[in-house]
């Protein structure tokens, strides 16, 4: 189950970018990029920030991409990777609420219903999820750079090269951030001491 809820152009996906260099200047062709990737970018943002902020982040991602489409360099990254880079920058502006929500989830035991607020009428997705307890606490406690790498790999299924291009960091940095993040998650999930309390994970 990877994060492609409704990839609009699955047949083309293995070939990489939905639009080669010249086409991005043409609003009609940008429409193809939008159609091919909007749902996926929205899904990624929704996983990290919930549906309301996701709507905002996804629409801003494509507005930003549209404005900067002249500067998109297909030699450097696939369109999809480029979009994830823009989305990750926008998600960074919501870092505090992302971490706050993760910490709230960290306090949930295995059987608790998360967030009994009335907004759950709309945000019903939370009830289906297992992001809680130690795992949520560990992700909340990660430095932002490690969390971005971990989630781009785990949720967006980007390769190390793609993460490096999306975040504009060296390839080696991706590997080291990812291994640190994995180690912390593993420890939180009981890789070391299963008796450890949730609170230890995030202070």
């Amino acid at each position: 189950m990877t994060g492609e809820p409704l990839a609009a152009a699955p047949a083309r996906a293995p070939l990489g970018p939905a639009a080669p260099r010249p086409s991005l200047r043409d609003p009609d062709r940008f429409g193809e990029v939008f159609d091919a990737h909007f749902a996926e970018i929205h899904g990624y943002a929704a996983k990290r920030l919930g549906p309301d902020a996701a709507s905002d982040v996804a629409s801003q991602t494509f507005l930003e991409a549209f404005r900067r489409r002249d500067r998109y360099d297909p030699a450097r990254a696939a369109v999809r990777t480029w979009l994830y880079g823009i989305a990750t920058n926008l998600i960074a502006k919501h870092r505090r609420s992302e971490v706050r929500a993760l910490r709230a989830r960290a306090r949930l035991g295995p059987g608790d219903a998360p967030g009994e607020g009335h907004a759950d009428v709309v945000d019903a997705r939370v009830s289906a999820q297992g992001l809680r307890g130690r795992l949520a606490g560990a992700i909340a406690a990660l430095p932002a750079g490690e969390r971005d790498v971990l989630l781009l790999v785990a949720l967006a299924d980007l390769s190390h090269e793609e993460v490096a291009a999306a975040l504009g960091v060296p390839y080696g940095t991706v590997g080291s951030r990812l291994s640190r993040a994995r180690k912390k998650v593993r420890e939180a999930l009981g890789g070391t001491n299963p008796m450890r309390d949730v609170e230890d994970d995030h202070g």
Binding site: M1, T2, G3, P5, P27, F30, G31, F34, F38, A39, H42, G43, A46, K47, R48, G50, P51, D52, A53, A54, S55, A58, S59, Q60, F62, L63, F66, R67, S97, R100, A101, A104, G115, E116, G117, H118, A119, D120, V121, V122, D123, A124, R125, S127, A128, Q129, G130, L131, L135, A136, I139, L150, L151, A154, L155, R182, V185, R186, L189, G191
Partner: protein
């Protein structure tokens, strides 16, 4: 142990973006208006109460139970089956839903407001902020056009008593209030934002539009049944509500999970939404009757709506809302209050006047307010057929102070 897979599975699959979200996101860059907006649906801030101000409040506001969980006794002395004067008043209003003269264009104008409490040294008072007015119109036939416009209205003291307290505080030109998880500042004088916006993500015109209300043509709306039981089956069952409210991700054993507070609140929102479209008078009456008959819906007699109009009302069971300090905010605004969702109809015409969330037991942020205080609302300023192409009204719905 594969941590990546564990993380991936824990994050789950969110609901895909809605057609409306996609259209609005596209409208940001493609230069065409996102006219697939509310389609005359009731604006969604309706029915979500205080939480609607911010998703983060999902955790900040913990629902800790609701009154009369079994649907409770009907309002009035005898309960269900006995003549209930309040219920009779609503049913009579329903029967009076006059024959609405049809025209070439349907237009509707509604106002959304949210109350905030200002704790001034000279005394606490309430204001209505986050006030927006939205105007939508559509031609009865496809190709005759449709459009949306909205504007922000200045914040205003909620009642004359609040206005007096605001004046005692020196009639401040801006008001800073706590909203779920952040401070907001509202002007009390008309600003540039009080001009109608007719472009942008939620506004615009489409000359090719029209002929479509809630996804149905005017002709199809005529074909809706008028029988309350049939209408309830079509619109008010958990399955139908779950679909309308996009609860697909929260299903258990094939059924949508009951929202906190039960189905009455979404039922009120759904009926309000339908009544906002040009449905025929018989259907209008049928919908009001269907809502009146729902368990957990009570006739509560006459109330005043946020625009000062008297009407007859139905209400959902009251719910307790606990405001915690999860996201900071003033300590003196924390605590528990109880409120209920109310829908108000014009007694003479059966027309929908407003949906409002009203305080029943003061506490928390509303500790100093009285029962009946309106916490948030959507009010219909007008909803009508015309032959001339509709234009948003220039005048403000409230006198400028």
């Amino acid at each position: 142990m594969d941590e990546l897979r564990t993380v991936r599975e824990a994050y789950g699959e969110p609901a895909p973006p809605t057609a409306r979200e996609i259209a609005e996101a596209r409208a940001l860059w493609d230069g065409k208006p996102a006219v697939r907006r509310a389609r005359f649906g009731w604006p969604f801030r309706a029915g979500l109460g205080v939480v609607a101000a911010g998703a983060a409040a999902a955790v900040a506001v913990a629902l800790i139970g609701h009154g009369t969980p079994d649907g409770g006794p009907r309002t009035g002395a005898g309960g269900r089956g006995v003549l209930d004067l309040n219920e009779q008043a609503v049913l009579q209003a329903a029967a009076k839903a006059e024959l609405v003269p049809t025209g070439k264009y349907w237009s509707s104008d509604h106002i959304l407001g949210q109350s905030y409490v200002v704790r001034a040294k000279t005394g606490t008072y309430a204001i209505t902020g986050a006030l927006t007015e939205s105007f939508s119109w559509a031609g009865a036939r496809k190709g005759t056009g449709e459009g949306y416009a909205d504007r922000d209205l200045p914040a205003r003291p909620a009642t004359p008593q609040d206005e007096a307290a605001w004046r005692r505080a020196g009639s401040p030109a801006t008001l800073r209030v706590w909203s779920s998880d952040k401070w907001l500042t509202f002007p009390t004088k008309a600003t540039k934002a009080a001009r109608w916006r007719s472009d942008g993500p939620e506004a615009g015109e489409d000359a090719r539009g029209g002929g479509d209300f809630l996804g149905e043509s005017v002709e199809d709306l005529q074909k809706l049944p008028s029988d309350p039981a049939e209408l309830a089956e079509m619109f008010l069952t958990p399955e139908r509500l779950g679909k309308a409210l996009r609860l697909q991700a929260g299903r258990q054993a094939g059924r949508p999970v009951e929202p906190p507070g039960g189905w009455a609140v979404p039922q009120i929102a759904r009926v309000a939404s339908l009544l906002h479209a040009p449905v025929p008078p018989k259907v209008r009456a049928g919908l009001i009757r269907a809502l009146t008959a729902q368990p957990g819906i009570h006739a509560i007699g006459r109330v005043t709506d946020p625009l000062g109009r008297r009407g007859v009302a139905l209400a959902a069971d009251e719910r307790a809302v606990k405001v915690t300090g999860e996201f900071g905010g003033p300590a003196d605004q924390r605590g528990t209050y109880r409120s209920r969702e109310v829908i108000v109809f014009d007694e003479r015409t059966g027309a929908l006047l407003a949906r409002q969330n009203q305080l029943t037991v003061p506490g928390g942020p509303y500790a100093q307010m009285k029962p009946g205080f309106i916490i948030d609302y959507s009010a219909v300023r007008s909803a009508q057929w015309t032959d001339a192409k509709p234009k948003p009204p220039a005048s403000l719905p409230f006198p400028v102070r």
